[in-house]
């Protein structure tokens, strides 16, 4: 026990504050999500990147419906609540009447891909200058962990207890790869919150997406793979590896399209 560092109070020697518990713009105790959930790290990174780019006062988050919606009353960013799956359309309207604002959606895989797939596709195809963010855990987490259209083959969910079987349940959709070829789309990337390396990379992706919007280049999309230990029937400590082995095997992490880097394409 003698080797422990005292972590009850700040250090007495000169030091700089790097992180102060809850990130700026999120209230401590803002959410009631499960232990080991991957969504808080995603939301945290979203608002921190908005803030880092100095866009906070112009920003509006349009929330879909899922576990992440728990954050909407606990954030110091303007928030609009959409009907299930309709956030991209609400974001479109908002951006068109207030073009100076920075508009992003926070949606889940259930919300975006099952409940309102056409909304995001049309928004992307029209090249609306908004940023859509999808937290992808492959389950309808909030309503009990059932299979969604992004659930990967073999993934156990409440209604695929033996694992998703394409013969029975069909094949999943790769959202990022589906949106990327559309002409109105300027930026597409997929990140994850399951380890430090992925989170640092995700933060760069989010920064790029918001910069693309600030520069008026068109639609931007960031998909974020997040742990749902509850819906995956796993111990919290097992979920990051499960994400890596199962989800990342199908939904590959990386930058898929970046017109800011290749303006002539």
């Amino acid at each position: 026990m003698s080797n422990l560092v005292d972590t009850a109070a700040p250090p007495s020697r000169p030091a700089k504050l790097v992180d102060d518990f809850a990130p700026p713009l999120i209230l401590p105790g803002a959410h009631k999500l499960c232990a080991g959930c991957g969504e808080p790290a995603a939301i945290r990174s979203v608002v921190e990147m908005v803030d880092e780019l100095g866009l906070t006062s112009r920003s509006v988050g349009v929330f879909g419906i899922g576990c992440y919606t728990s954050f909407s009353p606990g954030m110091d960013v303007e928030v609009l609540q959409a009907l299930h799956g309709r956030a991209p359309s609400l974001a479109t309207g908002l951006k068109r009447v207030q073009p100076q604002s920075i508009v992003f959606t926070i949606q889940g895989d259930g919300d975006m891909v099952n409940e309102g797939l056409q909304e995001v596709i049309h928004t992307a195809a029209r090249g609306e200058n908004v940023t859509c963010i999808m937290l992808n855990n492959g389950v309808f987490g909030e309503t009990g962990g059932h299979m969604t259209a992004t659930t990967v083959i073999g993934q156990r969910t409440k209604n695929s207890l033996e694992g998703r079987d394409p013969k029975k349940h069909g094949y999943p959709i790769r959202m990022a790869e589906m949106l990327a070829p559309l002409d109105g789309v300027a930026y597409v990337a997929r990140g994850a919150t399951n380890n430090a390396g992925n989170i640092f990379q995700l933060r760069k992706m989010l920064r790029s997406a918001f910069q693309v919007q600030a520069d008026g280049l068109g639609f931007s999309f960031v998909e974020i793979l997040t742990m749902c230990p509850t819906g995956w029937f796993l111990q919290t400590g097992e979920a990051p590896d499960y994400l890596q082995d199962k989800l990342q095997g199908f939904h590959k992490v990386g930058i898929i399209k970046d017109l800011a880097k290749a303006p002539d394409e």
């Binding site: 009850a8 945290r44 990051p240």
Partner: protein, 83 residues
Amino acid sequence: MTRESRGTLVIDIERCKGCELCIDACKPGVLAMTTQSRNDMGYLYPELTPGCTACHACALICPDFVFQVWKYDDPVAVGEAAP
């Protein structure tokens, strides 16, 4: 190689839900869960040993915002008096 602490933490143990995500996220491996002590909610929680780099990976992954991260102006050799 001489090890040093480039930073330290304040750990708000009462907010921790014992998920252990911070343990694997910490590259230098200086966080470890308690094996006996539990917080008021009944969870084991992380404790810090010397060698923190103030990389803030633990803070970025923690779902419950348990960490305050400090970076020392000057690194402290491990073994020197506690911060």
